[in-house]
Amino acid sequence: MRRMYTHADKVFHSCNLTFMSLVLILTLYPFWYVMIGSVSTMGHLIRGGFILLPDGLHFEAYQQVFRNALIPTAYRNTLFITIVGTAFSMFLTILGAYVLSLKKLPGRTFLTFFFVLTMLFSGGLIPLYLVVRSIGLLDNIWALIIPGAMSTYNMILLRNFFESIPEALFEAASIDGESIWGYLFRILLPLSGAGLATITLFYSVSYWNAYFESLIYIRNRDLWPMQTVLRQVLQTAQMNTMLYDDARQTVAAETLKDAMIVITVVPILMVYPFIQKYFVKGIMIGSLKG
């Protein structure tokens, strides 16, 4: 049956639509401006006013970024760190969350406190560096994965998600002879798609964006991830724009920055639509208990 809208409903929907459209434009325009800025001339941006379209397609900024010989290896390193690191992190996080979600686990409260304590107090940068150094991970790409492989926050989130699944399932599975591992892999994980997708996204974004660790642990530039290289390209541009040193750089830092935002954000942004439906749901469920 088709619903009949009253005059007030129509007015409300019109206003609502107008307002939300404005919000949408306000939200999208900065992204659009960055896209325009990355392919426009500096003169077009300097003239000021409201800019809706670029003044042609100028790819000098992208050329400047990709002229850097480190880009291919950096992209490879970032992909490795993101894929392997996320898989490794998820493995550890799932195991930790699963164990802590078992209500009959002896010392469960103490173990939870033990993990949560690390969220409140960290060892500090120098001790962490000394540990990484002592286990021989300096100048090793695993130094970008292992030290921060498990996030307590993510683990607690996933534990809460696991706890929201009825315990009766576990008991039923036990009666049917399912082992503790079988319950995890055959029942719990298939039911936790939303939570897993969310945590996977958290980890992959954090690995994708990481650069500080590489500054500290990695001296060999062939092991640098993409973010470190891009940061260097941008800093060089800003310095050169200020001081003029690099004669080859005819691109202003502002344009270069826009191009780098596009290069950096677009790949990871493309992942969102595929897991968006899990994303909101996963966060909501995880946050209900704790």
Partner: protein, 515 residues
Amino acid sequence: MSKMWKRALTIFMAMIMLCGFALPAELGLADGDEPVELTIFMASTRPMNECTDLTRQYVKDNIAVDMNMIQGDSTTFDQQLALYVSGGDMPDVVLCSYATYLGYAAEGAWADISPYLTDDLPDLMTYVGDYWPYLTVDGAIGGVPRLLNVPSSHVVSIRKDWLDNLDLEEPKTLEEYTEVMRAFTFNDPDKDGKNDTYGLSAAGYSYLSFLMGAFGASSERDYFLNDDGTITTNAISEEYRDALRYLNSIYTEGLIDPELFTCTYEQAQAKWGRGEMGIWSNWWSHAGNAYYRFDFGNLQPDAVVTHLLPPVGPEGKSGNLYATPFDAVVSVSYLCDQAKIEAALRLLNFNASPLGFRVLMYGIPGEFFEWDEANNMTTWTTELNGGVSKSGKYTTTDMEVYKLLYQERWQGQSDALYSGPEGKLWYGGGELRYQEPVREDVFCMFLTDEYIKYHAELDSYFKTSMIAFIMGEKDIENDWDAYVAEYMNMGGDIERQSQLKVYNDTFNTQCVFAE
């Protein structure tokens, strides 16, 4: 000895002599020893590639130093260095700030290079000149200063076409400058029929120094040595107060862009590009950058830009902001043995030499640059051949990865190779720095404990007060005494007394403050 043996010996000797002549003497070649690897840590973002690898190989072949570069991040440099030191991984050579150098020197983190500073390093000794005392801590010298060696880095750019439109001459005195700024603000200099221009704009308060210099003051917390041996504290001096009076008057009249105090470099470039001001106080290279990277030629096609000397004040005073002689030190780690210390100094001596500087700046000679016997750059592939090297094998990008020391004047020669307006402005701006009068800040290299303790707070108070006086938020006549009292109470007096003591001790003088 048989004839054959004599011939062989003669040929052998001749070959040795030829080899000796073929190698440039100024390289200071090692005597056949294995190259010494030096890990060099510096905040750098410059890309390393096959072109810079050629430079590394060239240095390795010619002075037996293998430069293993560790590039740090400028924002976390001190943190990274602390990690390396605490982990026992201190790099052999560290290019750090002067303050960082002094801090680590007090802890004995640097090797004492003073016994190695001999006449065998002629270019380095000439380069550093009289600056060794600034590097001496507890009788030891732990590094070499990276000297800027220019009186000032600020210049004044002006729209000459606007002067022509208004039938005005290039200003020289403060009065003439004020008249020009007034005309640029109110007389429609761009002839567009709109009142949309200012006399002056810049990226921040420090660029007002060129006007304050006309009163014998500056825009920073400088200390000036007077002819009678007294030292003037700029922040509380009558000269500074006079300068503030003048700036307040032109601000109130509307001759200065009110956004000047919050303007960033990019915003100032945009304003210049949109033709919003006729006088732009800027960094010496910025007017050239406007053409090269900010599309100024298209935005203002009729513009004619030139540089000016700062104005001469009523008492004949003039000056722009003083540039600190050096801001960084190439320091040598305490972990280095004799071979490494010698290698580090050999590298620095090479960097200070005419050829060495250009190799570390532009790449290997012949392939990436050429120069004549009078030390002038004649070609630079980056500019003249679209970045393609002479043989066509390499496309250059940024080549300055291994440059540790500055040689501003030599570097300026490459500016002259540019054919467009940017080249003229870069070169002109660069050379103008050496012609500008400045008042030297005689305490700028004395970073005493008291300075480190009070500097940040004093600086903040000084700047905010300056802006408040100029904008009229504080009254220059009624609030001045309170400002001076507050400044001194905040540590201003303790700080300057500590610096004066070090100054007198260093130069064996008996200077006192003028105030």
